[in-house]
């Protein structure tokens, strides 16, 4: 239903994992081409590359190279991932208090919470309470916009 007709994600994922392995092995070899440095990395990297080739061949043979395993509503999930990414990446500037309040409020609106009292009440109440709790429990300062840092 939600499956794309031709999903290139599987192929990209496989190539991405193989690519990461080649890059990491290359980086480790560049740092020092010695037994102690490559004792674990070299055999594991070779194993990953062989397995990736085997998976590529088998998936292509079975005609499953362009298929996702999970049938999920990608169009609904991607905006949430984007919102979460924006929340995390803007935390150093927005602070944990304001950032959390905005993230929770926008999320609730995105998921059709129509009662503004609940949207504002929960996002402000939860945002302040959780930021204060962690700020008090943790031994180091947390960036905040209006709550005290320490």
């Amino acid at each position: 239903m939600n499956k794309l007709k031709k999903d290139y994600g599987h192929l990209c994922m496989l190539l991405g994992l193989a690519g990461f392995t080649i890059w990491y092995l290359n980086d480790a070899i560049r740092v020092a081409f010695t037994t102690p440095n490559l004792l674990l990395i070299l055999p594991v990297s070779l194993a990953v590359l062989l397995l990736c080739i085997a998976e590529l061949v088998i998936s292509a043979y079975r005609g499953k190279l362009f298929e996702a395993v999970e049938d999920e509503p990608v169009k609904d999930i991607l905006p949430i991932i984007l919102l979460f990414a924006v929340y995390v990446l803007t935390l150093p500037w927005l602070g944990f208090d304001l950032g959390t309040i905005l993230f929770v409020a926008i999320f609730l609106r995105m998921k059709n919470e129509r009662n503004w009292f609940w949207v504002l009440g929960y996002s402000i109440g939860f945002g302040i309470a959780i930021a204060l709790f962690f700020a008090l429990m943790l031994p180091y300062p947390m960036p905040m916009t209006f709550l005290p840092i320490d």
């Binding site: 440095n37 999970e70 609904d76 995390v88």
Partner: protein, 503 residues
């Protein structure tokens, strides 16, 4: 092996006044709260409350800290079951079957099973400690890096066993996880895969990566659901069902006992401890079960195996601390600090000269088991209400908890950024059929495996015959091979015998 005079003295020390018991209940509650809050570690709780122990005598201080330890070891399983976030690395395997059970509306039973297994685990662990503290400490002294590597290798076999329907993808995920686990400085001071960023010098923070892969990626997928459990009837918090779960745990006594034995001995290995013991116990239970495919889909035995092992590990790590003065992990390191604050040094001399105090600590933990049972039963209904929260409120709440918890673990934004990166990676992995648990185990064990392998290489000078001079290594290797091929070998032996009989 048991000193009865010291036992009597320990009992009189404990029961001569009520004062030592006054701090046990708050200790367990602190442990439960810190263990159940993702990102807040048991060791963190113990470190925060360590200064309070300055005003207690040594006995009370130990009771307070072990109470936090006991509460925390059960507490970390709660978010693993209800939210798929293992509170600590020792509850990874609890999430494998606990969360699927919660999704099926069996959260009450799952929590009851976890509580029973934890309670039984702590009891058996300290019982073994009481009877075998000296043999265990002698065993730990014989453990070198090659033995530790074999224990880790045993844990790594889980990667292969978690393959599910996609064998190759499971192995790829596990091995890539191992590589990610080795990012950063290694033991010989070489930095790999850091892209020049000093934030990665210490490697990828494991618990934030785990939070991202397990919890955040799963929450993205549940974005369109109204509740974790669709049926309203299944969302009820029912003390009777919790009690049923409590009883269910004892329907698998062998699984529980195996978990306890693994927990106490693996828990005694410094640096490996409960992180590996819960995985080992899980993999062994799955391998020996007639229906291994039911694991990962909500098999109660999976929770029993994991929780009994991680709770027993507490006693194992206490054995190393008391008998050798070596902390096995963060929590026992804080206890070592409490030892120093009270001018006490752990080790053979401490056990010989202060046997009554050692026994009093052990006996107090027997009693803590009953406190844990009562407090656990009181807390579980409160915590199980999470299942009633609509997903539109639960998703942002858990994501925020993961982000703040990860900041708490790293002390900078590396934690939250790691959660984000691994949440996306985890979602992609699930979407294309790569095993997320295998990748997480790889990340957890990667650095440990490389360190112990490197130490073995340095000691042996690359000579493989060194392994032959290590009887414990050979014994663990034999156990590993037996667990891998034992059942197949047995069926091969039985088959010709049967055909001879038939013939």
């Amino acid at each position: 092996m048991i000193d009865f005079a010291a036992s009597a003295s320990a009992l009189s020390m404990l029961f001569s006044s009520l004062t030592p018991w006054m701090i046990v209940v708050p200790g367990i509650i602190i442990g439960l709260v810190f263990g159940a809050t993702p990102g807040l570690q048991i060791s963190m709780a113990m470190a925060i409350f360590l200064p309070m122990t300055l005003y207690m005598d040594f006995m009370q201080a130990m009771l307070f800290l072990t109470a936090i330890f006991t509460g925390g070891s059960f507490g970390s399983g709660i978010p693993a079951i209800l939210m798929n976030i293992p509170g600590t690395s020792s509850a990874i395997a609890t999430a494998f079957d606990g969360y699927p059970m919660a999704k099926q509306g069996k959260h009450n039973q799952a929590l009851g099973i976890a509580l029973a297994s934890s309670v039984f685990g702590v009891l058996v662990g300290y019982l073994i400690l009481f009877m075998m503290i000296q043999p265990i400490s002698l065993m730990v002294l014989k453990l070198g890096p090659s033995e530790m590597f074999m224990v880790i290798l045993w844990g790594m076999t889980l990667i292969a066993s978690l393959r599910g329907d996609h064998v190759l993808k499971g192995l790829i995920a596990g091995f890539v996880g191992l590589l990610i686990g080795t990012i950063g400085f290694n033991e010989i001071g070489l930095a790999r895969g850091t892209m020049g960023s000093f934030y990665l010098f210490d490697g990828i923070p494991v618990i934030p990566a785990m939070m991202g892969m397990f919890a955040a990626s799963e929450l993205f997928r549940l974005a369109n659901k109204q509740y974790i459990v669709d049926s309203k009837a299944s969302r009820k918090v029912d003390l009777r069902k919790i009690a049923t779960g409590f009883k269910m745990a004892f329907q698998s006594p062998l699984v529980m006992l195996r978990g306890c034995l693994m927990g106490v001995f693996v828990g005694a290995v410094p640096g490996v401890g409960s992180s590996v013991s819960n995985l080992l116990s899980y993999v062994e239970t799955k391998r020996r079960d007639p229906d291994p495919d039911s694991y990962g889909k909500g098999n109660p035995k999976g929770i029993v195996a994991s929780e009994s092992a991680n709770s027993t590990s507490e006693a194992g790590s206490m054995a190393t601390l008391l008998a050798l003065g070596i902390p096995g992990g963060g929590a026992t390191a804080v206890m070592l600090a409490a030892f120093a604050m009270h001018n006490i040094t752990g080790g053979p001399q401490f056990i010989r000269e202060q046997t009554d105090i050692v026994y009093a600590i052990i006996f107090a933990n027997f009693a803590q088991v009953f406190f844990l049972m009562i407090l656990g039963l009181l807390f579980i209904p409160l915590l199980a209400n999470i299942i009633k929260v609509p997903m539109r409120y639960l998703i942002p709440t858990v994501l925020v908890l993961a982000v703040m918890g990860s900041f708490g673990l790293t002390g900078n934004f590396v934690g939250p950024f790691t959660v984000l990166a691994f949440a996306i990676i985890g979602w992609l992995m699930r979407r294309y059929g790569y095993s997320v648990p295998a990748a997480v185990i790889g990340i957890l064990l990667g650095a440990m495996a490389e360190k112990t392998l490197l130490h073995s290489y340095q000691i042996s000078g690359g000579d493989l015959s060194y392994v032959l001079e290590r009887p414990v290594t050979l014994a663990i290797m034999a156990l590993l091979l037996l667990s891998l091929f034992g059942s197949k070998l047995l069926s091969l032996i039985r088959r010709p015998a049967k055909s001879t009989v038939n013939g």
